[in-house]
Assembly symmetry: C2
Homo-oligomer: 345 residues x 2
């Protein structure tokens, strides 16, 4: 299976085709001037030899690796996966390839990862969130490439931003719950210390509750992120034993929300009759479960796509920038039956 012979190089192809290596190089870049017949002959020779370009060597020489580094908190999350899809698809047209890494929701891990990724000399880097360790931030600032922070509106951005306010998203949910008659509302999220975006959602919850003169102390912590469905269920159990008269729960994500809802089903608590439940993320499950769960759509795919556009814009050296340095992607409120009886099918 493993032939001992080395992989052929451009010179091998050149010899096979009877041209110089440079001509082979041109033949592989579609935009270069090469005689059409020569190109055909070269491509045929390459095919005969099973030649595959070495884009590492190419990148070293041209100073264009074709990589865009991307960090996400977890690879096992449909939201971030959608953002990565948006990036991949948006970047593909320009021949840019995503180099992905995940941080496990951990800033030290992010620092390690960013260092490793920069080692590959990406042409741009996309990070999730706007909070980093000092060293990580310094590396990003000194990398000399476009940096895009996403999924957040950082107070002090490094460079470009494509994101939304997690706090405002929570506020939107609170407003909806209050408008539909609830006042005893709880927030179910992760430990305040680790998940910055989850923490922002919690902050937004507290701010909005207090601004409406409501009690904002019903806060249940479900452990470090990511919060699983199971943890959502357990947290709901704790919530109901501590504050049994709770009328609504704002969950840090749809996964926690769905877990909480299953716990309600097990306990015979009617949703939304006895307790209303809201999530975050517009995961498929919140749309299809019974009853469907009210959620916030952060437009994950779109965030990726806009980040890709911004990168392409920054990398094409014309000064005719068509994208903004800071792009706000306004999250949408999806009102569904878990908070609003008239929505019931």
């Amino acid at each position: 299976m493993k032939p001992p012979k080395k992989t052929p190089t451009m010179s091998d192809v050149a010899r096979e085709a009877g041209v110089s290596p440079m001509t082979v190089s041109r033949a592989f870049k579609s935009d270069a001037y090469v005689n059409e017949e020569t190109r055909k002959a070269i491509l045929a020779a390459a095919d005969r030899l099973g030649y595959v370009m070495d884009s590492m060597a190419s990148g070293l020489s041209s100073r264009k690796t074709g990589f865009v580094a991307v960090t996400i908190p977890s690879i096992n999350n449909a939201n971030f996966a959608d953002t990565v899809r948006g990036l991949t698809e948006g970047l593909q047209a320009k021949g840019l390839q995503v180099l992905l890494g995940y941080t496990n929701y951990n800033q030290e891990e992010e620092e390690r990862l960013v260092r490793q990724l920069l080692t590959r000399r990406p042409e741009a880097i996309v990070v999730t969130g706007g909070t980093h360790t000092g060293k990580c931030r310094a590396m990003l600032e000194n990398a000399g490439i476009p940096v895009i922070e996403t999924w957040d509106i950082p107070a002090d951005p490094i460079d470009s931003v494509v994101g939304f306010s997690n706090a405002d998203a929570s506020a939107k949910i609170v407003a909806h719950l209050v408008e539909t008659g609830r006042t005893r509302i709880a927030f179910l999220g992760g430990d305040a210390s680790r998940d910055t975006r989850g923490f922002d959602r919690r902050r937004g919850f507290i701010r909005e509750m207090e601004s409406r003169g409501l009690d904002a102390t019903r806060l249940v912590e479900a452990g470090p992120p990511p919060i699983s469905m199971r943890e959502g269920a357990d947290a709901l159990a704790r919530l109901m034993s501590r504050w049994p008269d709770t009328e609504a729960v704002v969950c840090v994500s749809d996964l926690a929300a769905f877990g909480a809802m299953t716990e309600c089903q097990r306990r015979g608590l009617a949703v939304p009759g006895t307790i209303a439940i809201a999530g975050f993320g517009a995961y498929e499950i919140s749309d299809i479960c019974v009853p469907p769960i009210t959620s916030i759509d952060p437009h994950c795919y779109r965030i990726g796509l806009l980040a890709a556009r911004r990168i392409i814009d920054l990398l094409s050296d014309g000064p005719d920038s068509e994208t903004e340095s800071h792009t706000l992607v306004e999250p949408g409120l999806l009102v569904r039956a878990s908070t609003f009886s008239d929505c019931n099918p």
Copy 2:
């Protein structure tokens, strides 16, 4: 934000530290002989300059890029995400980095992707499944690196294999359903033509049904993969209108199974009383939903981990191979309340 000065090179660090570039190179490889004080001075100089190694140049020179290429059908799937986690974590100790790409369950796309990935000169490549286009297979065979096929037991393996029989997994489910008294059993899956693993599960279903003398024609197609929860729900609706007396459904994945179950809830069909539902993949949702769904655990993370071990084994040039060329990871049957009343909580 973007300093115009170029990123510093090893020579810059060497000058700053008053040594030769070669010594700097050694200082960064922990296993090389360098005076401890010299190393400290070099690392300090590197820090002062904000130096980050160029592993592309390093890879070109040493012929070791540190990449392991990995292709999965979809990035938005918890099962494949777990396999990637296993790979990433298993490879990390040896300083190998996963270079990930996804194929959208499409073999032409896989061919394109494999070509692109080989361009980066990975030291090994892991692919999902054992069916590829001819060109793709040829590229893999000629790449001169270890190739691991996963999530399948290919009839004609390219090189190493870490997987399981999708057909046998289905058969296991059928056996369980028949043993618990069902005979009118349906299979709910994707279009037969596209998703090879889904097709294998369907094949296993038919084989097992027929071997038990049961009718194996209740087959509903839910479109091209991936099958969403929504498609699972729609397919169940079609199933019940075509064969209303169906007693059990074997679904191609837990996501389809959960969608199907929500449809049952909407129609007032009792699960498992009226109809039993089984899935595949041991996704979290099948464990927590009400009732929990019987599933097959393919041990996704373990597949990734074992593939990583195999790669490390193959790459470390000692002939003392501790791993098998073909590793079978036996899937586990998770019997839960959606097929078995006594399991009800």
